[in-house]
């Protein structure tokens, strides 16, 4: 089992190129920034220069999208070597990735693809989490994905699968409230049942994001403000997650920084409700 991971209960934003200038120009009212690890797993250039300057002033969480913990091969040696180098450079709050697979047989979809939630997938994901945690000498945070299909082979619920992953590997959770909202709509389960079924004490970080509407499905596009339904779900569960770091996640149609800071204020109000005495 990896070492335990102390909680950090701040409010943060993703570090994205359109905001570099503003973030470097003046202190911002955030407690941490989250980076997409792969964007900085490079040899040099301005992004690393910016990251070093940001890291000097703020804690940073590393969030990956390419670990492919659910594919039979898992992450390759080049990927892990670069991830380790970045981790050493950043000394992050934590390193996270998703419950998903991204490719197989040398082909990469660059997407967070859904897993059949059964024992074979459980054994595969556990094996790779163990391997990565041993390599990094740190526990991972695993994020629940948005999914658009389920499999006839499923023998676990997603929350049951995540709970068992934590038990077997000692990993922690990155809980994406929007993804719970989206998958609950897409697959017809109760978001409350999902949240009640998770070991919330293992959650170290929360994502709040927006989505878009397909024909009948909701799609996790990260290109819109956090919608009312996601805020409402967060308001319900926030009192039980006061130990977790919370951030607004926006990857497309990125608005000016003040707009995201305003959304973060909403999260702040819901996360720390006013207490009347």
């Amino acid at each position: 089992m990896p070492p335990s991971l102390a909680p950090f209960s701040g409010l943060g934003l993703g570090l994205r190129p359109p905001h570099y200038e503003a973030i470097l120009a003046a202190p911002q009212p955030v407690d941490f920034f989250e980076i997409i690890s792969e964007n900085f797993m490079i040899d040099g250039g301005r992004p690393l220069h910016v990251l070093d300057r940001v890291r000097a002033d703020y804690p940073v969480a590393m969030h990956g999208v390419s670990m492919s913990l659910g594919s039979p091969d898992g992450p390759g040696p080049d990927y892990l070597r670069r991830l380790h180098a970045l981790m050493t450079r950043v000394d992050p709050l934590w390193v996270s990735d998703h419950l998903c697979w991204t490719g197989v047989n040398g082909h990469n979809s660059h997407d967070l693809l859904p897993l059949p939630l059964n024992e074979e997938a459980m054994a595969t994901v556990c094996r790779h989490i163990d391997r990565v945690q041993t390599f990094l000498q740190r526990p991972l945070l695993i994020e629940n994905p948005s999914t658009y299909v389920t499999f006839a082979e499923d023998t676990y619920t997603e929350w049951g699968f995540l709970t068992e992953l934590c038990r077997r590997t000692g990993c922690y959770l990155l809980l994406d409230i929007n993804n719970v909202f989206v998958s609950a709509h897409n697959h017809g389960f109760s978001a409350q049942t999902y949240l009640n079924g998770l070991p919330l004490e293992r959650v170290r970080q929360v994502h709040l994001a927006g989505h878009s509407e397909g024909e009948t499905l909701l799609i996790d596009t990260h290109d819109a403000p956090v919608p009312d339904g996601v805020w409402a779900l967060w308001a319900e569960v926030a009192p039980r997650l006061s130990h977790a770091a919370v951030m607004i996640e926006r990857d497309d149609e990125i608005p000016p920084l003040p707009e995201l800071l305003s959304e973060l204020d909403t999260a702040r109000r819901l996360t720390s409700p006013v207490v009347y005495v």
Partner: protein, 248 residues
Amino acid sequence: MRLADTQLDFLGQILATPAPTVSEGMRVYHHAYRARLAGAMAETYAQVWAWLGDETFNSEVRAYVEQHPSSQWSLDDYGQDFAGFLAQRFPDDPEIAELAWLDSALRQAFAAKDADLLDGAALTQVSDWETVRFVLNPALHHRAIRSNAPALWRALSKNETPPEVLYFEETSGLCVWKTALASRFRTLEADEYALICALAAGQGFAAACETLMRDAPDRDLTAQIGAWLGQWLAEGLITGLDTTETTA
């Protein structure tokens, strides 16, 4: 079904053309794959896009994506063969592939290892010019070109009307590299480019100069080579000296 078989089948449905009709969910994944790769290419190939226009660029990207499944974990590395693909699609318009190469090389230079400029005083410390090798900028990419693609690129990147396309009898060199976190590029005449190619291939400076002068016996290039050397130092094409004698 075994996990690997399930995933092979799933990926097969994503890569299939046309889109699978089995479920809305599979169509979401099918569409997202293409949208993500096309988005990455639109970001990298901004000036090719401006040159070809929306319709042609999007059509070429769609064709490229269908023929080139991604095999790298980094999305930023996707599409690096686009210049070669366009060279085959537009054999009579070399400026298109050359613009694509320049877009891609600038992108790769952006994320390449950084290096400081070499202080010219270091050259005064060289005791044996027969063995000295220059370390070139780690972000350096170079290729031969036969159009005025660099001029087109500059105009397109500033949203200016590009000049008339020109094709040249003799090829020249196009170098891309990075200094002070900024990617940059320059066209090199044939002799200077030949020398840079030799140095980039690891040849010693003296040997590379000797080869160049042997190939141009009717010209005295000594002063010219000295001028190039000064320019390479000033603009960061050379970032180090290796005075270790080798037998390679």
